[in-house]
Symmetry: C2
Subunit: 253 residues, 2 copies
């Protein structure tokens, strides 16, 4: 196992940061790494909003489930799926209204492009000794976040990311057994129960130890609790209102 | 710039592979790296199908836009967004029909989880001197691919990935100028034209040189050509048929 793979397997989310700043040069390296990631047909269908204004940061941290680390982290980036810039490019050669931007395919392409770039950024930051945490919470009040960041139509914020030097050393959270996520040639539903039971056991022990017995739930319990209630049901309508599925309707209906 | 960031900024897609095999141990490291990536609320909403059967590989390569390297690469992985396994976990504590799985939010969570894991796998492979290429082409005939791989409902193939030792050394493709993708505090549409014009110039030179003058198009021309026709319009209906938006409809309509 080489040093890069050690780094990749050693990730833990960091939610508390030291005073040590991230320099502009380091941030440039992080962004360069992001841009180095694969992108579908060179579309580069993502943008990054760096939030430096303390008022904007404060409002964002409240909108994003009130996580204090969104306010406190040295660098906060919002990773956006972006078809707007492609429309700008298209406009030089034709009327974007005649092109096909708002389709489920392009929504997936842009979401994937943003995520590939973000993960490269995460790895780059961690390679310099920093820690990161992804903030899915920016989707909780996504319309307000989009308004705050003045996102144009055809752009949506996929997640945020806090970056900074760690001031905590959380344990490594166990992952599902490999056999639960890796299949050969065909998906094999029948092989899932055993590794899921193993993982429930592992996670119950882990959580009990980590919380000094305050929590003793298994993974499947946690997942059931999470998924029994509707969450962020506004996402479909928000994406529709941002134009992400508008060309789909022309052909579908 | 440290070695990891050099690796991340030095990525190029590899479509031709040497005879050198990828060992099982190396593949285990790649999968471990994938599992090390961040995942939303520990949902780990993705699965990987490794395709080793040559008949399955052959059919996949035809379905995925006829790319020969899907057939020829030493390792081919299909990265799937997976809510099925979470339904299995849920089932131990309640009826999954009562839970909320098929929502746009969960579609995004699962797509992001699959992509974070895949990008870690890509970096891990490249750290061992291998090359990779993402295969979005598996979405071209996605229903047939899902059937071939026997994907259950609530699973969809996001992209494939070829992995192997490179037998080619393509040039590094220039990316958009940083100012075109990075904004501060708010999205600034007005600053896009200048860097897009610069990039068109850069890419025209790059493509002309790389193809010995056979192609001389700019980036914005390439994008306009790509986006002027509908592509993979079946994605929305396919995802609906796989159950990915079924709980959305309960509340929306």
């Amino acid at each position: 196992m080489n040093d890069v793979i050690k780094l990749l397997t050693n990730h833990r989310s960091i939610r508390k940061y030291s005073e040590q700043p991230v320099t502009d040069e380091q941030l440039e390296s992080i962004i360069s790494a992001a841009q180095g990631a694969s992108t579908s047909s060179n579309m580069q269908a993502y943008s990054i909003i760096r939030v430096t204004d303390q008022d904007v940061r404060q409002r964002l941290s409240v909108l994003a489930d009130n996580y204090s680390y969104v306010m406190e982290c040295p660098v906060f980036l919002v990773w956006c799926a972006d078809l707007y810039r492609l429309r700008q490019a298209y406009q030089q050669h034709g009327d974007p209204e005649q092109g096909y931007f708002g389709t489920m395919e392009n929504l997936i392409v842009a979401t994937v492009d943003a995520t590939l770039a973000a993960q490269n950024a995460a790895v780059a930051a961690e390679s310099m000794g920093m820690g990161i945490v992804y903030i899915g919470g920016i989707r909780t009040n996504i319309a307000e976040v989009a308004e705050l960041l003045k996102l144009p139509k055809y752009v949506y914020p996929v997640f945020g990311m806090c970056i900074g030097y760690p001031d905590q050393a959380p344990g490594l959270r166990p992952r599902l057994p490999r056999e639960a996520i890796l299949h050969e040639n065909t998906y094999q539903p029948d092989k899932l129960p055993a590794p899921l039971a193993d993982y429930d056991h592992t996670m119950k022990e882990y959580i009990t130890r980590r919380t000094d017995g305050k929590r003793t739930s298994t993974w499947s319990e946690d997942m059931a609790n999470k998924l029994k209630a509707p969450a962020r049901m506004h996402m479909l309508r928000f994406l529709e209102s941002q134009g992400f599925l508008e060309d789909q309707e022309d052909l579908d209906k």
